[in-house]
Amino acid sequence: MTLSLHIPRLETPRLILRGPEPADFDSYAAFLTEPKRSWGFGTEEDRPKAWRWFACNIGHWALHGYGYFTVEVKETGQPCGIAGIWNPEGWPEPEVGYVVFDGYEGRGIAFEAATRAREWAYTELGFTTLTSNIVPGNARSVALAERMGAWYERSYRNVQMGEEMLYRHPGPEALGIGSDADGSPEAYA
């Protein structure tokens, strides 16, 4: 049997979104085990648990055909964050997720990466709607979701994170990146 993982490489003006690689683990672990940074994403209590999350994301890709990309700064090649589409067991719907690592805030990186991931999901995966789940009090994440055009829809209890606010993103048509007339997702070069 062959376990194939077709993780695309997406570009934005400043960033590359690509599949996770083993060498990324240290930057993921630093983020995931630092509660001050990852409390709104899901903090892992130690490096072994962070590794489990890292490996789970790869399995998520294998199962769903989508998951979290490693976001890399084009100019330096350094991993600067995580963005993608996340839908583990128990999630209400697939969501657009986004975080930036220490030292990369305030540059619009998360917005640029999340917008590209959302566009990919609409054009290449054929999604017709997407959400973002946000822990109450995570004002930065709310601001980013609203900048992406998303709006608060409801609150619910997430199986991992507890109480969360579900933000609804505009659909592909509203963003002008809808499906073709034949219903198939538009190719994106």
Partner: protein, 181 residues
């Protein structure tokens, strides 16, 4: 594409086919991890945790180039258990793990048959020089299987530095020279 996993191994024994754990095994793995059968390995898990644990077994193959095999009865591709080399982050030594997921299939020697094959593969193809199995002291069946596999209790071996692991027993497998002879 960042991981190259084509050509993952397929092992054959008298009664079993062993192949890399894949996405087709997540549903059965999740169901198994939610049962009392996993009480000796941190279970039963919630549905979410069981699913993420199952997915991470696939990622383990991608990151390490090896991992737990899905144990299937020969002629089927339905997973009935897991077996083989396992070394997530934090393990001080490589492990040989095993489990029969379907209780109706217990007691047939499948776990033994699978572990012999996957251990041999770990020694032969991965070049491991030693292997251990971490076993809960209350897991009588697993201890019996370790002993049947020729393992001996190693009281000096280090444990993974994880919460709630105190008291876990380390069974050391016979060396490659004994197994591959």
């Amino acid at each position: 594409m960042s991981f190259h996993l084509s050509g993952t191994p397929v092992l054959e024994t008298d009664r079993l086919t062993l192949r890399a754990m894949g996405p087709q095994d997540v549903e059965a793995g999740t169901a198994y991890l939610m049962t009392e059968r996993t009480v000796h390995m941190g279970g039963p898990y919630s549905a979410h945790d069981a699913w993420t644990h199952s997915c991470h077994l696939i990622g383990h193959w991608a990151v390490r180039g090896y991992g737990l095999f899905a144990v299937c009865l020969k002629g089927t591709d339905r997973v009935i258990g897991d077996s083989g080399p396992f070394r997530p982050h934090g393990w001080p030594e490589p492990e040989i793990g095993w489990g029969i997921w379907d209780p109706a299939l217990e007691g047939n020697g499948y776990a033994h048959e699978a572990a012999l094959a996957t251990r041999r593969w770990a020694y032969d193809s991965l070049g491991w020089s030693t292997a251990v199995s971490y076993i809960d002291p209350d897991n009588d069946r697993s201890i019996a299987l370790a002993e049947r596999l020729g393992c001996v209790l190693d009281r000096d071996a280090p444990l993974p530095d994880l919460p709630d692991w105190e008291g876990t027993r380390v069974y050391r497998h016979p060396a490659p020279a004994e197994v591959l002879a």
